[in-house]
Symmetry: C2
Subunit: 219 residues, 2 copies
């Protein structure tokens, strides 16, 4: 069976995956880019198009970051990762934050209460808009993945809902040593998750803590 994976999902020390007051100008709300700063210099993120640096790093941060795409056949993301708007689609001109050639290069399932027609981009990315709970979303994502793994891409609510529904095989969570104070918490209603996962952690030179959750055999 294909695995369900989370990669490079960053939270603050107080557990927020996103700040308050998200908008078109501030996709992470008052958190700004602070939750992603560890990732931007990595070779993986530089190759994804986060330019502006001459050098890229291949240290501990990149060792984790670089695993995000291998064997992935589909991404599931929440509406809020795809678009800053809420409610019914006022127009369908919005094509995501990532330009004409998004870095996914696979089908991407956007969970939304407001379905619309699929949106085919350059480079192999097609956005599908689906109204489904996690088990049903996963069933349909696996049809798109052609036997490959499923990445749960965010945002915070979406990443939280899959372990809540016990539908996760592995997670890579990055704890950034800042205190956001407000926003959306990742770790709600996940008591006892450690009973089903082996948890490892390591601190990288950039100061973040990489946590990996690997589902135990039989758990």
């Amino acid at each position: 069976m294909s695995r369900v994976r989370v990669h490079n999902f960053s939270i603050s020390l107080d557990g927020f995956g996103v700040g308050e007051s998200q908008s078109l100008e501030a996709p992470f709300g008052h958190a700004g880019e602070r939750l992603l700063r560890w990732a931007l210099p990595t070779r993986t993120f530089q190759r994804m198009g986060f330019h502006g640096r001459e050098e890229s790093t291949v240290g501990v941060d990149d060792a984790f970051a670089s695993n995000w795409a291998e064997d992935i056949g589909v991404e599931i993301m929440g509406r809020n990762k795809f678009a800053p708007s809420r409610g019914p689609w006022e127009n369908e001109e919005w094509r995501g934050w990532w330009g004409d050639d998004p870095p996914f290069h696979t089908p991407v399932m956007v969970l939304t209460h407001y379905p619309r027609l699929p949106l085919e981009m350059e480079g192999g990315t097609t956005f599908y808009f689906v109204n489904a709970d996690p088990p049903e979303a996963l069933r349909r994502a696996r049809q798109l993945a052609e036997g490959k793994d499923v990445r749960i891409g965010g945002g915070t609510t979406t990443v939280r809902e899959f372990p809540q529904a016990d539908l996760i095989d592995q997670m890579h969570i990055v704890v950034v040593p800042i205190l956001l104070g407000r926003g959306e918490r990742l770790w709600e209603v996940l008591e006892g998750l450690e009973d089903r996962f082996t948890i490892e952690s390591v601190v990288s030179g950039s100061g973040v803590i990489h946590l990996t959750f690997t589902r135990r055999v039989g758990a």
Copy 2:
């Protein structure tokens, strides 16, 4: 000026310093002893009286644990660390969790809305019962400390109130990779703490993450 310090304060990955349903039998509520398991085998805790093991460790965990007493002249603790009871003291027979010779060996200020007479124990520990907010408690603790440092000993509310009041110089917080789901959170209302502190972290062989907060010069 003497420093105000936190040592060995353990929280879960989701930020709880104590679980729900504290009682005489379960001082950490449903967390049990899981938040302290990293510390019990250390030479420092073994010498404090947490017996039952033949060997003790002097690795990373003990390197941090062992700093708790040096240059400390007084501890401030919340009522809930001293006693399982709430409200007015029904009798004054309760003498703390630590037996006749508590491991503090200094004055200990217990914050409570219900003052009572000081309680002198063996080995240099005297409990003082004081109704005061953090600035006033600190002022009075410094009088007892005779120029030495002040340790904020817990529980969760007490440890949180001192950085909230901007009255902390250094903190050692230990993140234990378990998810408690409920209890009392340490990281409430501490947005932006990283602006005033240098934060370092390291993972120990026991799997916990040691975080140190050192106040920046001038901050």
